[in-house]
Protein backbone atom coordinates (compact mmCIF):
# COMPACT_ATOMS: atom_id res chain seq x y z
CA UNK A 1 0.00 0.00 0.00
CA UNK A 2 2.73 2.44 0.93
CA UNK A 3 4.70 1.48 -2.20
CA UNK A 4 1.62 2.35 -4.27
CA UNK A 5 1.30 5.66 -2.47
CA UNK A 6 4.97 6.51 -3.04
CA UNK A 7 4.63 5.66 -6.74
CA UNK A 8 1.51 7.81 -7.09
CA UNK A 9 3.09 10.72 -5.27
CA UNK A 10 6.18 10.46 -7.48
CA UNK A 11 3.92 10.50 -10.54
CA UNK A 12 2.00 13.55 -9.35
CA UNK A 13 5.18 15.44 -8.51
CA UNK A 14 6.76 14.53 -11.87
CA UNK A 15 3.65 15.62 -13.76
CA UNK A 16 3.49 18.97 -11.98
CA UNK A 17 7.23 19.51 -12.41
CA UNK A 18 7.10 18.67 -16.13
CA UNK A 19 4.09 20.93 -16.64
CA UNK A 20 5.89 23.78 -14.87
CA UNK A 21 9.09 23.25 -16.85
CA UNK A 22 7.34 23.09 -20.20
CA UNK A 23 5.33 26.21 -19.50
CA UNK A 24 8.45 28.09 -18.41
CA UNK A 25 10.68 26.99 -21.26
CA UNK A 26 11.38 29.53 -23.98
CA UNK A 27 12.97 27.11 -26.41
CA UNK A 28 10.30 25.54 -28.63
CA UNK A 29 12.15 22.29 -29.22
CA UNK A 30 12.67 21.83 -25.50
CA UNK A 31 8.99 22.52 -24.89
CA UNK A 32 7.98 19.89 -27.45
CA UNK A 33 10.25 17.25 -25.92
CA UNK A 34 8.96 18.07 -22.44
CA UNK A 35 5.41 17.83 -23.77
CA UNK A 36 6.13 14.32 -25.08
CA UNK A 37 7.55 13.34 -21.69
CA UNK A 38 4.49 14.85 -20.04
CA UNK A 39 2.26 12.71 -22.28
CA UNK A 40 4.14 9.55 -21.32
CA UNK A 41 3.85 10.31 -17.61
CA UNK A 42 0.17 11.10 -18.14
CA UNK A 43 -0.24 7.67 -19.75
CA UNK A 44 1.30 6.02 -16.68
CA UNK A 45 -1.08 8.03 -14.51
CA UNK A 46 -4.03 6.68 -16.51
CA UNK A 47 -2.73 3.16 -16.02
CA UNK A 48 -2.61 3.84 -12.28
CA UNK A 49 -6.24 4.97 -12.48
CA UNK A 50 -7.20 1.57 -14.03
CA UNK A 51 -7.88 3.16 -17.40
CA UNK A 52 -5.57 1.35 -19.85
CA UNK A 53 -7.67 2.49 -22.83
CA UNK A 54 -7.10 6.13 -22.12
CA UNK A 55 -3.46 5.37 -21.31
CA UNK A 56 -3.01 3.83 -24.75
CA UNK A 57 -4.72 6.75 -26.44
CA UNK A 58 -2.76 9.28 -24.39
CA UNK A 59 0.56 7.63 -25.19
CA UNK A 60 -0.27 7.36 -28.88
CA UNK A 61 -1.92 10.76 -29.41
CA UNK A 62 -0.57 12.93 -26.59
CA UNK A 63 3.01 11.77 -26.78
CA UNK A 64 3.33 10.25 -30.26
CA UNK A 65 1.26 12.06 -32.88
CA UNK A 66 1.15 15.45 -31.17
CA UNK A 67 4.88 15.22 -30.61
CA UNK A 68 5.51 14.57 -34.29
CA UNK A 69 3.20 17.42 -35.32
CA UNK A 70 4.86 19.83 -32.88
CA UNK A 71 8.40 18.92 -33.97
CA UNK A 72 7.40 19.31 -37.58
CA UNK A 73 5.80 22.69 -36.93
CA UNK A 74 8.95 23.86 -35.16
CA UNK A 75 11.09 22.81 -38.11
CA UNK A 76 8.84 24.81 -40.42
CA UNK A 77 8.93 27.88 -38.23
CA UNK A 78 12.70 27.80 -38.09
CA UNK A 79 12.96 27.31 -41.82
CA UNK A 80 10.57 30.18 -42.51
CA UNK A 81 12.51 32.41 -40.15
CA UNK A 82 15.69 31.60 -42.03
CA UNK A 83 13.94 32.45 -45.31
CA UNK A 84 13.02 35.85 -43.93
CA UNK A 85 16.63 36.30 -42.99
CA UNK A 86 16.06 36.47 -39.28
CA UNK A 87 18.66 34.80 -37.23
CA UNK A 88 18.93 34.32 -33.54
CA UNK A 89 16.34 33.36 -31.00
CA UNK A 90 12.67 34.31 -31.00
CA UNK A 91 11.88 37.56 -29.21
CA UNK A 92 11.05 36.73 -25.62
CA UNK A 93 7.50 37.69 -24.63
CA UNK A 94 7.31 40.88 -22.55
CA UNK A 95 7.27 40.31 -18.82
CA UNK A 96 3.97 41.08 -17.16
CA UNK A 97 4.07 43.29 -14.05
CA UNK A 98 4.24 41.53 -10.71
CA UNK A 99 0.71 42.55 -9.66
CA UNK A 100 -0.82 40.92 -12.78
CA UNK A 101 1.18 37.73 -12.28
CA UNK A 102 0.21 37.60 -8.60
CA UNK A 103 -3.43 38.13 -9.53
CA UNK A 104 -3.35 35.31 -12.09
CA UNK A 105 -1.69 33.02 -9.55
CA UNK A 106 -4.27 33.88 -6.89
CA UNK A 107 -7.16 33.27 -9.31
CA UNK A 108 -5.70 29.91 -10.40
CA UNK A 109 -5.15 28.86 -6.78
CA UNK A 110 -8.70 29.87 -5.86
CA UNK A 111 -10.19 27.91 -8.78
CA UNK A 112 -8.06 24.88 -7.96
CA UNK A 113 -8.95 25.11 -4.29
CA UNK A 114 -12.66 25.24 -5.14
CA UNK A 115 -12.31 22.14 -7.34
CA UNK A 116 -10.46 20.21 -4.63
CA UNK A 117 -13.01 21.30 -2.02
CA UNK A 118 -15.81 20.17 -4.33
CA UNK A 119 -14.29 16.74 -4.75
CA UNK A 120 -13.70 16.58 -1.00
CA UNK A 121 -17.38 17.19 -0.32
CA UNK A 122 -18.66 14.43 -2.60
CA UNK A 123 -20.41 11.76 -0.57
CA UNK A 124 -18.43 8.53 -0.72
CA UNK A 125 -21.28 6.16 -1.44
CA UNK A 126 -23.99 7.14 -3.84
CA UNK A 127 -26.55 4.63 -5.04
CA UNK A 128 -27.43 6.57 -8.21
CA UNK A 129 -27.06 4.60 -11.42
CA UNK A 130 -24.07 2.54 -10.32
CA UNK A 131 -26.11 -0.65 -10.11
CA UNK A 132 -27.68 -0.17 -13.55
CA UNK A 133 -24.28 0.63 -15.03
CA UNK A 134 -22.57 -2.42 -13.58
CA UNK A 135 -25.43 -4.59 -14.87
CA UNK A 136 -24.74 -3.49 -18.41
CA UNK A 137 -20.98 -3.72 -18.16
CA UNK A 138 -20.46 -6.81 -16.07
CA UNK A 139 -19.00 -9.06 -18.75
CA UNK A 140 -16.25 -6.53 -19.51
CA UNK A 141 -13.16 -6.71 -17.38
CA UNK A 142 -11.89 -3.13 -17.18
CA UNK A 143 -14.40 -0.58 -15.90
CA UNK A 144 -13.16 2.20 -18.17
CA UNK A 145 -13.22 -0.01 -21.26
CA UNK A 146 -16.74 -1.05 -20.36
CA UNK A 147 -17.99 2.50 -20.02
CA UNK A 148 -16.26 3.49 -23.27
CA UNK A 149 -17.74 0.55 -25.16
CA UNK A 150 -21.25 0.74 -23.78
CA UNK A 151 -21.93 4.42 -23.23
CA UNK A 152 -19.57 6.61 -25.17
CA UNK A 153 -20.51 6.16 -28.81
CA UNK A 154 -21.71 9.75 -29.23
CA UNK A 155 -18.35 11.01 -27.98
CA UNK A 156 -16.50 8.97 -30.58
CA UNK A 157 -18.91 10.15 -33.26
CA UNK A 158 -18.28 13.79 -32.47
CA UNK A 159 -14.54 13.24 -32.14
CA UNK A 160 -14.55 11.87 -35.67
CA UNK A 161 -16.39 15.00 -36.77
CA UNK A 162 -13.78 17.19 -35.06
CA UNK A 163 -10.91 15.36 -36.79
CA UNK A 164 -12.63 15.77 -40.14
CA UNK A 165 -13.16 19.48 -39.45
CA UNK A 166 -9.48 19.79 -38.54
CA UNK A 167 -8.47 18.41 -41.94
CA UNK A 168 -10.92 20.73 -43.71
CA UNK A 169 -9.63 23.64 -41.65
CA UNK A 170 -6.07 22.80 -42.58
CA UNK A 171 -6.98 22.74 -46.27
CA UNK A 172 -8.80 26.06 -45.92
CA UNK A 173 -5.91 27.67 -44.03
CA UNK A 174 -3.44 26.52 -46.63
CA UNK A 175 -5.81 27.44 -49.47
CA UNK A 176 -5.67 24.04 -51.11
CA UNK A 177 -7.96 21.72 -52.97
CA UNK A 178 -5.97 18.59 -52.25
CA UNK A 179 -3.41 17.50 -49.74
CA UNK A 180 -0.64 17.57 -52.27
CA UNK A 181 2.68 18.19 -50.60
CA UNK A 182 6.26 17.99 -51.71
CA UNK A 183 8.08 15.02 -50.31
CA UNK A 184 10.90 15.87 -47.96
CA UNK A 185 12.27 12.37 -47.98
CA UNK A 186 15.96 11.65 -47.80
CA UNK A 187 17.55 9.99 -50.81
CA UNK A 188 16.71 6.35 -51.43
CA UNK A 189 18.18 4.22 -48.75
CA UNK A 190 18.07 0.41 -48.52
CA UNK A 191 17.97 0.32 -44.72
CA UNK A 192 15.04 2.69 -44.44
CA UNK A 193 13.16 0.97 -47.25
CA UNK A 194 13.76 -2.41 -45.66
CA UNK A 195 12.49 -1.39 -42.25
CA UNK A 196 9.43 0.31 -43.71
CA UNK A 197 8.67 -2.83 -45.71
CA UNK A 198 8.67 -4.89 -42.51
CA UNK A 199 7.24 -2.32 -40.13
CA UNK A 200 4.29 -0.98 -42.13
CA UNK A 201 2.47 -4.32 -42.57
CA UNK A 202 3.25 -5.25 -38.96
CA UNK A 203 1.83 -1.96 -37.71
CA UNK A 204 -1.31 -2.43 -39.80
CA UNK A 205 -1.64 -5.89 -38.25
CA UNK A 206 -1.29 -4.41 -34.76
CA UNK A 207 -3.92 -1.80 -35.62
CA UNK A 208 -6.31 -4.57 -36.65
CA UNK A 209 -5.51 -6.48 -33.47
CA UNK A 210 -6.25 -3.47 -31.27
CA UNK A 211 -9.51 -2.90 -33.13
CA UNK A 212 -10.57 -6.52 -32.67
CA UNK A 213 -9.49 -6.41 -29.03
CA UNK A 214 -11.48 -3.25 -28.37
CA UNK A 215 -14.75 -5.14 -27.97
CA UNK A 216 -13.83 -6.39 -24.52
CA UNK A 217 -10.32 -5.27 -23.59
CA UNK A 218 -8.26 -2.06 -23.80
CA UNK A 219 -8.00 -0.98 -27.41
CA UNK A 220 -10.48 0.21 -29.99
CA UNK A 221 -11.04 2.54 -32.89
CA UNK A 222 -8.98 5.47 -31.66
CA UNK A 223 -5.94 3.47 -30.61
CA UNK A 224 -6.05 1.49 -33.82
CA UNK A 225 -6.60 4.58 -35.97
CA UNK A 226 -3.62 6.36 -34.43
CA UNK A 227 -1.39 3.44 -35.43
CA UNK A 228 -2.79 3.57 -38.97
CA UNK A 229 -2.05 7.29 -39.00
CA UNK A 230 1.50 6.60 -37.89
CA UNK A 231 1.85 4.12 -40.76
CA UNK A 232 0.70 6.84 -43.15
CA UNK A 233 3.26 9.30 -41.75
CA UNK A 234 6.00 6.67 -41.97
CA UNK A 235 5.17 5.88 -45.60
CA UNK A 236 5.12 9.56 -46.50
CA UNK A 237 8.29 10.42 -44.60
CA UNK A 238 10.19 7.56 -46.20
CA UNK A 239 8.79 8.43 -49.63
CA UNK A 240 7.30 4.99 -50.08
CA UNK A 241 5.40 4.61 -53.32
CA UNK A 242 2.31 2.99 -51.78
CA UNK A 243 1.29 6.32 -50.27
CA UNK A 244 0.44 7.48 -53.81
CA UNK A 245 -1.55 4.37 -54.67
CA UNK A 246 -4.84 6.00 -53.77
CA UNK A 247 -6.29 8.76 -55.94
CA UNK A 248 -7.24 12.06 -54.30
CA UNK A 249 -10.93 11.17 -54.10
CA UNK A 250 -9.94 7.90 -52.41
CA UNK A 251 -8.25 9.83 -49.59
CA UNK A 252 -11.24 12.13 -49.29
CA UNK A 253 -13.46 9.07 -49.02
CA UNK A 254 -11.28 7.56 -46.29
CA UNK A 255 -11.37 10.81 -44.33
CA UNK A 256 -15.16 11.00 -44.48
CA UNK A 257 -16.11 7.32 -44.18
CA UNK A 258 -15.97 7.07 -40.36
CA UNK A 259 -18.22 10.04 -39.70
CA UNK A 260 -20.53 8.98 -42.52
CA UNK A 261 -20.88 5.43 -41.21
CA UNK A 262 -21.62 6.73 -37.75
CA UNK A 263 -24.25 9.11 -39.10
CA UNK A 264 -25.83 6.34 -41.17
CA UNK A 265 -25.91 4.04 -38.15
CA UNK A 266 -27.51 6.77 -36.06
CA UNK A 267 -30.18 7.33 -38.72
CA UNK A 268 -30.87 3.61 -39.15
CA UNK A 269 -31.15 2.96 -35.41
CA UNK A 270 -33.36 6.03 -35.04
CA UNK A 271 -35.74 4.59 -37.64
CA UNK A 272 -35.60 1.00 -36.37
CA UNK A 273 -35.75 1.35 -32.61
CA UNK A 274 -36.75 4.95 -32.10
CA UNK A 275 -33.59 5.87 -30.19
CA UNK A 276 -30.35 7.08 -31.70
CA UNK A 277 -27.51 4.49 -31.57
CA UNK A 278 -29.71 2.07 -29.62
CA UNK A 279 -28.73 -1.01 -31.60
CA UNK A 280 -31.16 -3.86 -32.13
CA UNK A 281 -29.75 -6.87 -30.24
CA UNK A 282 -29.36 -9.10 -33.31
CA UNK A 283 -27.36 -6.52 -35.20
CA UNK A 284 -25.49 -4.97 -32.30
CA UNK A 285 -22.13 -6.65 -32.76
CA UNK A 286 -22.07 -6.33 -36.55
CA UNK A 287 -23.05 -2.65 -36.41
CA UNK A 288 -20.57 -1.74 -33.68
CA UNK A 289 -17.76 -3.55 -35.45
CA UNK A 290 -18.42 -1.94 -38.82
CA UNK A 291 -18.65 1.50 -37.20
CA UNK A 292 -15.37 0.88 -35.34
CA UNK A 293 -13.64 -0.29 -38.50
CA UNK A 294 -14.77 2.75 -40.48
CA UNK A 295 -13.84 5.02 -37.57
CA UNK A 296 -10.34 3.57 -37.28
CA UNK A 297 -9.72 3.98 -41.01
CA UNK A 298 -10.94 7.57 -40.93
CA UNK A 299 -8.87 8.42 -37.87
CA UNK A 300 -5.78 7.02 -39.59
CA UNK A 301 -6.49 8.93 -42.79
CA UNK A 302 -7.17 12.16 -40.88
CA UNK A 303 -3.93 11.99 -38.91
CA UNK A 304 -1.95 11.24 -42.06
CA UNK A 305 -3.68 14.12 -43.82
CA UNK A 306 -3.00 16.50 -40.92
CA UNK A 307 0.66 15.59 -41.05
CA UNK A 308 1.12 15.69 -44.81
CA UNK A 309 -1.12 18.69 -45.40
CA UNK A 310 0.94 21.03 -43.27
CA UNK A 311 3.97 20.65 -45.51
CA UNK A 312 4.53 23.13 -48.31
CA UNK A 313 3.14 22.15 -51.69
CA UNK A 314 6.31 23.14 -53.49
CA UNK A 315 9.62 21.57 -52.83
CA UNK A 316 11.61 24.49 -51.51
CA UNK A 317 14.08 22.65 -49.38
CA UNK A 318 17.14 21.54 -51.22
CA UNK A 319 17.62 17.82 -51.27
CA UNK A 320 20.96 16.25 -50.62
CA UNK A 321 21.78 14.98 -54.07
CA UNK A 322 19.54 17.19 -56.20
CA UNK A 323 17.18 14.35 -56.98
CA UNK A 324 14.05 14.74 -59.00
CA UNK A 325 11.33 16.59 -57.12
CA UNK A 326 8.33 14.49 -56.38
CA UNK A 327 4.89 15.60 -55.42
CA UNK A 328 2.97 12.77 -53.85
CA UNK A 329 -0.70 13.69 -53.91
CA UNK A 330 -3.00 12.66 -51.12
Amino acid sequence: MTADLVLDLLLVVSLLLLAWLLLRSEDFLRTAVLFIAFGLFMAIAWVRLLAPDIALAEAAIGAGITGVLLMDAIRHMEWERQQRGEDGPEHPPPKRPLAVRGGILAAALAAGGLLVAGVWQLPGQRPGLAGAVSDRTEELEHPVTAVLVVFRSIDTWLELGILMLAVIGLLAARGRQTLEAASLAPPRDPVLEGVVRVLAPLAILVAGYLLWLGTWAPGGAFQSGVILGAVGMLLWLSDHRSIEALPVWGWKLLIVVGFATFTAAAAITLLLSGAMLEYPPDWMLAMIKSIELAAAISIGACFTALFVGQHPAQQRLQTDDGKQERHPRL
Binding site: V191, L192, V195, V198, L199, L202, D320
Partner: protein
Protein backbone atom coordinates in the same frame (compact mmCIF):
# COMPACT_ATOMS: atom_id res chain seq x y z
CA UNK B 1 3.55 -6.78 -4.75
CA UNK B 2 0.36 -8.81 -4.91
CA UNK B 3 0.13 -11.86 -2.68
CA UNK B 4 0.49 -14.95 -4.79
CA UNK B 5 -1.93 -17.80 -4.23
CA UNK B 6 0.51 -20.65 -3.94
CA UNK B 7 -0.68 -24.03 -5.06
CA UNK B 8 -0.24 -26.68 -2.42
CA UNK B 9 2.63 -29.13 -2.58
CA UNK B 10 6.35 -28.68 -2.19
CA UNK B 11 7.60 -29.01 -5.83
CA UNK B 12 5.16 -26.37 -7.14
CA UNK B 13 6.10 -24.00 -4.34
CA UNK B 14 9.75 -24.47 -5.18
CA UNK B 15 9.09 -23.86 -8.85
CA UNK B 16 7.20 -20.63 -8.18
CA UNK B 17 9.85 -19.36 -5.82
CA UNK B 18 12.50 -20.05 -8.45
CA UNK B 19 10.38 -18.18 -11.04
CA UNK B 20 10.06 -15.17 -8.74
CA UNK B 21 13.78 -15.21 -8.03
CA UNK B 22 14.56 -15.32 -11.75
CA UNK B 23 12.16 -12.42 -12.36
CA UNK B 24 13.81 -10.34 -9.66
CA UNK B 25 17.28 -11.13 -10.96
CA UNK B 26 16.58 -10.32 -14.62
CA UNK B 27 14.47 -7.26 -13.85
CA UNK B 28 17.28 -5.86 -11.69
CA UNK B 29 19.80 -6.51 -14.45
CA UNK B 30 17.45 -4.84 -16.95
CA UNK B 31 17.04 -1.83 -14.67
CA UNK B 32 20.80 -1.55 -14.38
CA UNK B 33 21.14 -1.31 -18.17
CA UNK B 34 18.33 1.24 -18.38
CA UNK B 35 19.94 3.40 -15.70
CA UNK B 36 23.37 3.06 -17.28
CA UNK B 37 21.95 3.95 -20.71
CA UNK B 38 20.11 6.96 -19.33
CA UNK B 39 23.17 8.23 -17.49
CA UNK B 40 25.15 7.82 -20.72
CA UNK B 41 22.48 9.68 -22.68
CA UNK B 42 22.64 12.56 -20.26
CA UNK B 43 26.40 12.72 -19.69
CA UNK B 44 28.10 11.71 -22.93
CA UNK B 45 29.44 14.56 -25.06
CA UNK B 46 28.10 14.01 -28.59
CA UNK B 47 25.31 12.37 -30.55
CA UNK B 48 27.15 9.28 -31.73
CA UNK B 49 28.41 8.36 -28.27
CA UNK B 50 24.98 9.00 -26.83
CA UNK B 51 23.49 6.66 -29.41
CA UNK B 52 25.99 4.04 -28.32
CA UNK B 53 24.73 4.38 -24.74
CA UNK B 54 21.01 4.47 -25.45
CA UNK B 55 20.98 1.41 -27.71
CA UNK B 56 22.32 -0.67 -24.84
CA UNK B 57 19.38 0.45 -22.73
CA UNK B 58 16.91 -0.21 -25.52
CA UNK B 59 18.13 -3.61 -26.56
CA UNK B 60 19.63 -5.24 -23.51
CA UNK B 61 17.59 -3.49 -20.82
CA UNK B 62 14.27 -4.14 -22.53
CA UNK B 63 15.34 -7.68 -23.40
CA UNK B 64 16.18 -8.48 -19.80
CA UNK B 65 12.93 -6.99 -18.53
CA UNK B 66 10.97 -9.01 -21.11
CA UNK B 67 12.88 -12.08 -19.96
CA UNK B 68 11.96 -11.28 -16.36
CA UNK B 69 8.30 -10.90 -17.28
CA UNK B 70 8.37 -14.18 -19.22
CA UNK B 71 8.73 -16.02 -15.92
CA UNK B 72 5.49 -14.40 -14.74
CA UNK B 73 3.44 -14.84 -17.91
CA UNK B 74 0.37 -16.97 -17.55
CA UNK B 75 0.32 -18.61 -20.94
CA UNK B 76 2.53 -19.39 -23.90
CA UNK B 77 0.65 -16.82 -25.99
CA UNK B 78 1.25 -14.09 -23.42
CA UNK B 79 4.94 -14.91 -23.39
CA UNK B 80 5.03 -14.92 -27.19
CA UNK B 81 3.53 -11.44 -27.29
CA UNK B 82 6.16 -10.19 -24.85
CA UNK B 83 8.93 -11.63 -27.03
CA UNK B 84 7.36 -10.05 -30.10
CA UNK B 85 7.39 -6.65 -28.39
CA UNK B 86 11.09 -7.00 -27.77
CA UNK B 87 11.79 -8.10 -31.34
CA UNK B 88 9.88 -5.14 -32.79
CA UNK B 89 11.66 -2.78 -30.40
CA UNK B 90 15.00 -4.24 -31.53
CA UNK B 91 14.11 -3.71 -35.18
CA UNK B 92 12.87 -0.17 -34.71
CA UNK B 93 15.55 1.05 -32.33
CA UNK B 94 18.47 -0.29 -34.35
CA UNK B 95 17.10 1.29 -37.51
CA UNK B 96 16.29 4.58 -35.80
CA UNK B 97 19.81 4.55 -34.38
CA UNK B 98 21.27 4.02 -37.84
CA UNK B 99 19.20 6.87 -39.32
CA UNK B 100 20.11 9.30 -36.54
CA UNK B 101 23.76 8.30 -36.75
CA UNK B 102 23.89 8.79 -40.52
CA UNK B 103 22.17 12.16 -40.26
CA UNK B 104 24.71 13.24 -37.66
CA UNK B 105 27.59 12.08 -39.78
CA UNK B 106 26.32 13.96 -42.85
CA UNK B 107 25.73 17.13 -40.95
CA UNK B 108 29.13 16.98 -39.39
CA UNK B 109 30.68 16.75 -42.84
CA UNK B 110 28.47 19.60 -44.02
CA UNK B 111 29.57 21.79 -41.18
CA UNK B 112 33.20 21.09 -41.87
CA UNK B 113 32.97 21.81 -45.60
CA UNK B 114 29.90 23.97 -46.17
CA UNK B 115 30.77 25.14 -49.72
CA UNK B 116 31.90 21.83 -51.04
CA UNK B 117 29.17 21.30 -53.60
Amino acid sequence: MQPVAYASGFPILLFETAAHAATLLFASAGLFFFIAGTVGLLRFPNTLVRLHAITKADNLGLGLIVLALLFQSESLWGGGKLLLIWLVALLVSSNACFLIGRWTLRHRQQEEAPHDR
